[in-house]
């Protein structure tokens, strides 16, 4: 048996544009604003997420988020969700989820925030 060592340097490789795929889209269903997020909600994309959501929300009080297309989320992504929720609650509104991916559910469960966001087991959300 042998030991194997591999040294890789990304110093001169421009990977950022190819590894982060992130899209936010908004629509209105039955008078309710729905924002859909696809991609990775992490340190690199959180600012863009917040800017896009703020633009979409405008003066609305309520927002539904479809996070079924989120393939990865970390604590900064969770922090962004909390910011959005608190902003809406402060103006008498609410944030709710249309659907969440397993990646989102994992983080919400791990941090004990699932109930705060009305999440039930297996990615189901309160009506």
């Amino acid at each position: 048996m042998s030991k194997v060592t591999l040294l890789v340097s990304f110093t001169s490789i421009r990977l950022a544009a190819t590894v982060t795929v992130f899209q936010v889209g908004s629509s209105t269903h039955s008078g309710e604003l729905v924002v859909s997020v696809v991609g990775e909600l992490d340190l690199a994309s959180t600012d863009e997420f917040l800017a896009e959501v703020n633009d979409a929300v405008g003066d609305e009080q309520n927002l539904k988020l479809d996070l079924s297309g989120v393939t990865f989320m970390d604590s900064t992504g969770l922090g962004a969700l909390i910011k959005v929720r608190n902003r809406l609650v402060d103006r008498g509104g609410a944030l709710s989820f249309v659907a969440v991916s397993a990646a989102v559910e994992r983080v919400l469960t791990l941090t004990g925030m699932a109930e705060t966001f009305g999440l039930e087991p297996e990615g189901q959300v309160d009506a």
Binding site: K3, L7, V8, F10, T11, V19, L43
Partner: protein, 146 residues
């Protein structure tokens, strides 16, 4: 398909590979955009160690959170690089993430990133040596004692 088989009939990776322990070192710019490649490398290293899917996904989050904790500590006068070292064994991966940090800098243990990291790896180790801060994460295949 038998336990440990990635491809039916091929057998577990641990029966086929020609090495006991492998080390991969990756160095990326200490910037948020380059945390994603570390997550990808984590997935690959974990698969080589035959970790379970849940282990792999949790380890990716742990590495991401460790990087999130280290990036604010980076000394702007230093090399501004984030080094990841993956030690891959059979059913076990140890990942060390390190940056050159400003003098006296320490990991923030009060925020959500630390809460998540320490929940994912209760034995996470933080080492501060001279101008370098290192976070060490270990994951053993589910069902195997550490």
């Amino acid at each position: 398909m038998n336990e440990g088989e990635l491809v039916p009939g091929v057998g577990p990776l641990s029966d086929r590979r020609e090495w006991d322990v492998a080390t991969i070192k990756i160095e990326v710019p200490a910037l948020p955009d380059f945390v994603a490649p570390l997550r990808s490398a984590t997935r690959s290293a974990s698969a080589l160690a035959d970790l379970a899917v849940d282990d792999i996904e949790e380890l990716q989050i742990a590495v991401d959170e460790a990087a999130t904790l280290l990036l604010p500590l980076v000394d702007p006068r230093g090399p501004r690089m984030l080094e990841a070292r993956f030690q891959i064994g059979d059913g076990e991966v140890q990942i060390s993430l390190a940056v050159y940090a400003v003098a006296g800098a320490d990991v923030d243990r009060t925020g959500m990133a630390w809460i998540m990291l320490s929940a994912l790896d209760p034995s996470v180790d933080v080492r501060s040596e001279s101008d370098c801060v290192t976070i060490v994460i270990t994951r053993v295949r589910s069902g195997r004692s550490q």
